[in-house]
């Protein structure tokens, strides 16, 4: 008996170590790490080294627990600010998007796999949600610096669409089990749905508040606090589930609430969560990999791969395009969002449900879902960075690297103790004075500590320790950051020239002969941009004004536009002829007759000798034509 205990622990830890170790390799080759974990599970499993793990209920149990931990952590790490800016598009995607994808996919599944409509819908809901772990991981750790709104939309979508897909999958399994068809889907179904989300949301908020109160009020041993927090989050998960709400939604909401409030020992909780999240992902992917039987894949491989392509190239793009119509995303951004529709552990996890429900004895659902996840991780996961660059969505880094260390203060103090190393070329090293609120308490130079008044001007390689209010670190980072090298490529992104945001916009009209529409003479460039952006401007945002484009080069601490770039020939960037949003559609409809008239007009009158290129409409379309790399 004891022998088997040790053997099980040995195998378990061996697999986890192997997975952790393989992450090193994955980073080097840029392979999606989750795919690596999954492969380890597959290789160790029944068709590989022969670990025969065939316990779907246990796998579902472990997977759900792991998913709850991951979702709490994703909520914890999502800033409320980015949540606010991206909530509307993200939540549309998480609800309407999932439904649409499911419906479209169902049609294809009925055709390709010869399923009934209800079965097709079940398969659709299984692969209907994007994977939070995969999306977070690939966007954050992959070092892909894209516009904040796009990133936040993708992250929040992936964090919040699981409950929808889970609910759909469970409901459809129930329907299939009872042997009834779609006609059994009545108002009760909708009420159930509202109840799941309602109870989940409310208990998530209540639970988050409870976690905050308990962690902040009880003076627990410091080492215990993160454990306490995670146990409480699982309590929220289980209680909500037991009361008929969506536990997954509840933990996500609770994480969002606690992560954005002043919680005690936030840093150590965050670090612990990060570790737990990793462990949960490794375990979940390993277990799911172990559960699969790859030798069965061959039978279903062809239609499954076909379905995966349908999902990637047709169902998701259509659903995304439709959901994002009313929001102001550029075509390339919409394309990118539909490309980052990574399927992952959640889909495989949900594919266990039909097995448990006894309606998938052939494991058609499970194996198909598994293959779809593999294809998605391979194809999309591997090419996210490439796609982002190709679509011109990579934003140049905002400030240079900073060398800093954050130290935790006891209790819920509103100050932080920061330590910076003064790096060569940073504003402070070049003699910029620190503001009053950031006077260092201590300077360490050549291993000797001294107060600022004895240290005089800060020098390279000094270590500076200072206490500041937690509102300010961003501003301070800038003072200690290494200079951003002035890259010629930046001009591709930010345009050739700069414009002062506080100047009147009519100057733009005068200098470049642009039609601004109806703006008052006092309207500043920044005001014009904010208005066109729908009230909020953010680093990297672009506003087309006539034939030029204004780009937010920088924002200040209050979120106001601080620097503006001006691109004279925005048309040289390739845009897809797909994914028009409402604005695009309207402008296309409006432009077509106008352009036609313009071309005719310029044909009618003899082009003046100064024209170096064909008429306006033409030169507009062909860009510059000099083969500039994107």
């Amino acid at each position: 008996m004891l022998d088997t205990l040790y053997v099980v622990i040995l195998i378990g830890t061996g697999l986890i170590l192997l997975a952790a170790f393989s992450s090193l390799l994955a980073f080097r080759f840029g392979a999606p790490i989750l795919l690596v974990f999954l492969s380890i599970g597959l290789v160790a499993g029944v068709d590989g080294f022969g670990l025969d793990f065939d316990n779907p209920p246990l796998a579902y149990f472990i997977g759900s627990l792991a998913l709850a931990i991951i979702l709490f952590d994703s909520g914890f790490g999502t800033s409320l600010q980015s949540f606010r800016h991206a909530a509307a598009p993200a939540l549309t995607l998480a609800t309407v998007g999932v439904l649409l994808t499911t419906a479209l996919f169902a049609a294809a599944a009925v055709l390709l796999l010869d399923l009934s409509w209800l079965q097709g819908a079940l398969l659709g809901s299984i692969v209907g949600s994007t994977d939070a772990a995969a999306v977070f991981f690939l966007l954050r750790i992959g070092g892909i610096n894209i516009r904040e709104r796009v990133r936040a939309t993708l992250e929040i979508e992936s964090g919040s669409n699981d409950p929808m897909a889970i609910f759909l999958a469970i409901a459809l399994v129930e329907l299939l089990r009872s042997g009834s068809g779609f006609e059994a889907m009545d108002w009760n179904f909708l009420i159930q749905f509202a109840k799941q989300l309602g109870i989940g949301g409310v208990l998530g908020l209540v639970g988050g508040w409870m976690i905050l109160q308990l962690v902040n009020r009880l003076s627990l041993e410091r080492g215990l606090t993160p454990i306490f927090t995670i146990a409480l989050s699982l309590l929220v998960f289980s209680v909500t589930g037991a009361l008929g709400g969506s536990g997954f939604l509840a933990v996500y909401v609770a994480g969002l609430l606690t992560g954005n409030s002043h919680i005690r020992s936030a840093t150590s909780i965050r670090r612990f969560q990060e570790g737990m999240s990793w462990l949960a992902q490794i375990v979940m992917f390993l277990v799911l990999g172990l559960l699969a039987t790859p030798s069965q894949f061959a039978a279903i491989a062809l239609p499954a791969v076909g379905l995966a392509f349908f999902l990637i190239f047709i169902a998701r793009p259509l659903a995304i395009w439709f959901c994002l119509l009313p929001f102001r995303f550029s075509r390339n951004e919409t394309a990118f969002i539909s490309w980052v529709g990574l399927r992952g552990a959640v889909s495989i996890l949900l594919a266990i449900l039909p097995i448990i429900g006894g309606i998938d004895s052939e494991r058609v659902f499970f194996n198909t879902a598994f293959i779809i996840v593999l294809v998605s991780l391979l194809m999309q996961g591997w090419t996210i960075g490439f796609m982002a660059r190709r679509l011109g969505l990579i934003v140049p880094p905002r400030i240079g690297p900073v060398e800093k260390l954050e130290l935790e203060l006891p209790g819920t103090a509103h100050h932080e103790l920061l330590s910076y190393r003064v790096v060569a070329g940073s504003p402070v090293a070049r003699g910029q004075r620190l503001p009053r609120w950031a006077r260092p308490s201590l300077v360490v130079r050549d291993g000797k500590s001294m107060r600022l008044q004895y240290a005089g001007r800060l020098q390279e390689n000094d270590y500076v320790y200072l206490f500041i209010s937690s509102r300010y670190p961003r501003l301070l980072d800038r003072l200690f950051a290494s200079p951003v090298p002035f890259e010629p490529d930046d001009a591709e992104f930010f345009g050739e020239f700069t414009v002062e945001p506080g100047r009147p916009a009519r100057l733009l009209a005068e200098s470049y002969g642009i039609d601004l529409g109806n703006v008052t003479p006092e309207t500043t460039v920044a005001e014009l941009m904010v208005e066109r952006l729908g009230g909020h401007a953010e680093y990297g945002d672009r506003v087309a004004v006539g034939s030029v484009e204004l780009i937010v080069r920088d924002t200040d601490d209050a979120g106001e536009i601080a620097e503006v770039g001006l691109s004279l020939t925005p048309d040289t960037k390739p845009t897809l002829p797909l994914f028009h949003n409402f604005r695009d559609i309207v402008s296309v409809l409006r432009q077509t007759p106008k352009r036609r008239r313009k071309v005719e007009a310029s044909k009618a009158k003899e082009p003046p000798s100064l024209l170096l290129t064909p008429p306006v409409a033409e030169s507009h379309r062909d860009g510059d034509g000099d083969g500039k790399p994107m």
Binding site: F486, P488, A491, E496, F497, T498, V499, E500, R503, L507, L508, E510, S511, Y512, G513, V525, S547, V548, V564, L566, L568, T569, P608, S609, L610, L611, L612, T613, V616, S619, H620, D624, D626, K628
Partner: protein
């Protein structure tokens, strides 16, 4: 588009001595007035108006002041290599030593923007800029600019 269409050799000042941004712009305006027959004051005011919107210093010691004005019959450039760099409130706070003034007729529209973009791209190429900085004569500068531009085209 060839840069030769935008600038002529007479419009190149290989070693302009100036102490300030204002003086640079004045000297360039004077040269442009000389070659086009327009009033120097009009040219200067036009360019200054654009500078009010934000400095045309694009970084790496380069500035491209520009503007549209009545009476000029084509897109017209004047280039100066400064003997001593001057402060130009540029984006990267570096003093400027290469200045390309570009004037365009009111009706130029998209061509104005394309010409500007062309000049900006030419002066973004580190090799070209280095060659320009190491050239002393107007003819040599003219050759570097037109050749680099046609190669890039």
């Amino acid at each position: 588009m060839d840069l030769g269409d935008l600038i002529e050799q007479d419009a190149i000042l290989p070693a302009l001595k100036a102490n300030s941004k204002k003086q640079v712009l004045q000297d360039l305006a004077q040269k442009a007035a000389e070659l086009t027959g327009l009033a120097e004051r009009d040219i200067f005011e036009t360019v200054l108006q654009r500078e009010k919107l934000g400095s045309t210093g694009v970084g790496n010691g380069i500035a491209i002041p520009h503007g549209k004005l009545e009476g000029i019959d084509r897109i017209f450039g004047v280039f100066a290599r400064l003997a001593k760099p001057v402060e130009f409130d540029a984006l990267d706070e570096q003093p400027v030593d290469l200045v390309f003034l570009l004037l365009a007729p009111e009706s130029a529209g998209a061509d104005h923007l394309k010409a500007l973009s062309k000049v900006a791209r030419l002066l973004r190429n580190p090799d070209t800029v280095e060659k320009i900085r190491s050239s002393r004569a107007a003819s040599a500068l003219y050759a570097v600019m037109t050749q680099s531009a046609s190669r890039a085209a």
